[in-house]
Symmetry: C2
Subunit: 368 residues, 2 copies
Amino acid sequence: MSTGSVRYELLKICPHTGARRGRLHTPHGTVETPFFMPVGTQGSVKTVGSEDVEALGFQQVLSNTYHLSLRPGSKLVEQLGGLHHFMSWNGAILTDSGGYQVMSLSDSRTIDDTGVKFKSHLDGSVQFLSPERSIQIQGELGVDISMSLDECPPYPCTREEAAEAMRRTHLWAPRNLAARREGQAVFGIVQGGVHMDLRTESAEFIASLPFDGIAIGGVSVGEPSEMQYPVVTHTAKLLPQDKARYLMGVGHPKDILHAVAAGIDMFDCVLPTRMARHHALYTLDGRVNALGKRWADHDGPFDEASVFPQTQRYSAAYIRHLFKAGEPLGARLATLHNLAFYARLMAEIREAITQETWPQLLERYARA
Amino acid sequence: MSTGSVRYELLKICPHTGARRGRLHTPHGTVETPFFMPVGTQGSVKTVGSEDVEALGFQQVLSNTYHLSLRPGSKLVEQLGGLHHFMSWNGAILTDSGGYQVMSLSDSRTIDDTGVKFKSHLDGSVQFLSPERSIQIQGELGVDISMSLDECPPYPCTREEAAEAMRRTHLWAPRNLAARREGQAVFGIVQGGVHMDLRTESAEFIASLPFDGIAIGGVSVGEPSEMQYPVVTHTAKLLPQDKARYLMGVGHPKDILHAVAAGIDMFDCVLPTRMARHHALYTLDGRVNALGKRWADHDGPFDEASVFPQTQRYSAAYIRHLFKAGEPLGARLATLHNLAFYARLMAEIREAITQETWPQLLERYARA
């Protein structure tokens, strides 16, 4: 049994798939599931403000324990009223634990069962992250959902490395829970790499603990979708129906469609925002390069299905010009466009589950 | 007599000063004067969209003939429906003639009475700008107000250089007018450097031609305000009451206050937008550095008098964090803050003329 302030409510299961339509009740509002969280690593979804994220229809964002603890510091954020107030975001916030960034961004890290010692990528100062410390930082940030510190092995890795990362993840799981503040909601994370027996063991163990939701980690770390899809399908089935299921770091529209069908409720990914800054725009016909000559005199939007007023008012020709001219507004409009694409994808996913029109949805996004 | 589609309407003269309250009627709406134009050099006010400029309350923006003619090209803009449609801006647009940018940005320029030959700063291609060509480009862009091609001497320059630039400006003035499309409104430009007799000669000559408005050029090219203020005061007095008066490239809030009192109606300047990108924010207590330690835990706005909702919702501590963290949202929020400061300054200037409270206004902005 969980003790946190977050609760998942199942509304309906898609008759065509295992897709779930539900609600996540958080201290900062109810979030309709399945949903996607824009990534605001440093307390800001790159190039857009909280009013934009609201206008796009998102109800929850993701931010980053590692980055915020180094700068501006979680104590300062707490003193300033918490991360919601700091970034003026009225919706829900989930933070990752910092473990993934410690392993990918910091220097000279050493990991053992106590935690990870590492050097800050900002100033080289020596830092220590443990399950207790990660949960404490996330408590200071005051977020709605804290993620457990786990060990996420890279892909490819040996079975032994995947098993060892799982062992440590399981060792740390209860320590994450024990470090909670009163009411602090904490999600557990299933590891096990691409090995189905390890995934089974991990899912069963994590599901046995009183987490407020369960994430599938170690997917979207470089493996091809032929490896990712079976892991997601296999693992999702093992998770309890009464808790939210979060697939970390995923992904492409087609990956999200697959994972929702497998029973996943929550997603985050840097793709829509990062791709936008590299002038790659999502459309129903696939991702297009805004610099392409075909857009030079195109007076309509990149995607005829675009519905967001702030991007609808600008033509592809104008956005291409902004990128060509090095105007910062280009990245912003492209970010709004891509986030609007993801927001609409998730809204249509929810609608397709409710209306039982999943096959039509797959057809609509077949080229996306 | 002018033939263009722009008309100035004088409403009231301030009893304390020569300040004028009026209206500029343009094909894209009526603009309350005195007003400030945000600078959108390449068809975009840096970091903000047209919906933001609208929300800030601006009714007219400035864009740049030189930049737009090189990229994306005025023919393409015309084909796409004109600059208003291209940048999705429903208010009025004034373009500068390109002369200033040719002299400051291009390579290997040669100027004679026919025009300026120069190499594009983008690709080194040889280009030619003449009064006829500049007015043609601005006609293709479809702007509300086209500026005459003039010669703007740098500061400092000799009296002979100032006189020669004025001579060429006067030679070109009728050629600018002769090149107009039907209904194209063109403003003339007074030159003459810091020499009052030349300014008198130039103001009288330019005022004798059928321009739709008159600008004072060659101010704000590096001269100190001790030189700028007398030129503005002297020249503004010589201009006809029935045409709008535009002081090009000005300026600091105190410069605007001075110039309005001298009878100027229109301003443009890169300061609020450029300073914002260098984390310098306008407040009633002067321009402040957002990186300063004093803001690290400041949960309020930089300026207590701030009125714009999109920037009011963010604290100085947050905006400082964004700059420190290299987040692109920092420049955007700072730009919105500074433009909101300028929009409010102009609104309060108009109000002070109407309400006859100019002395109180000067007191309010004494430290700005």
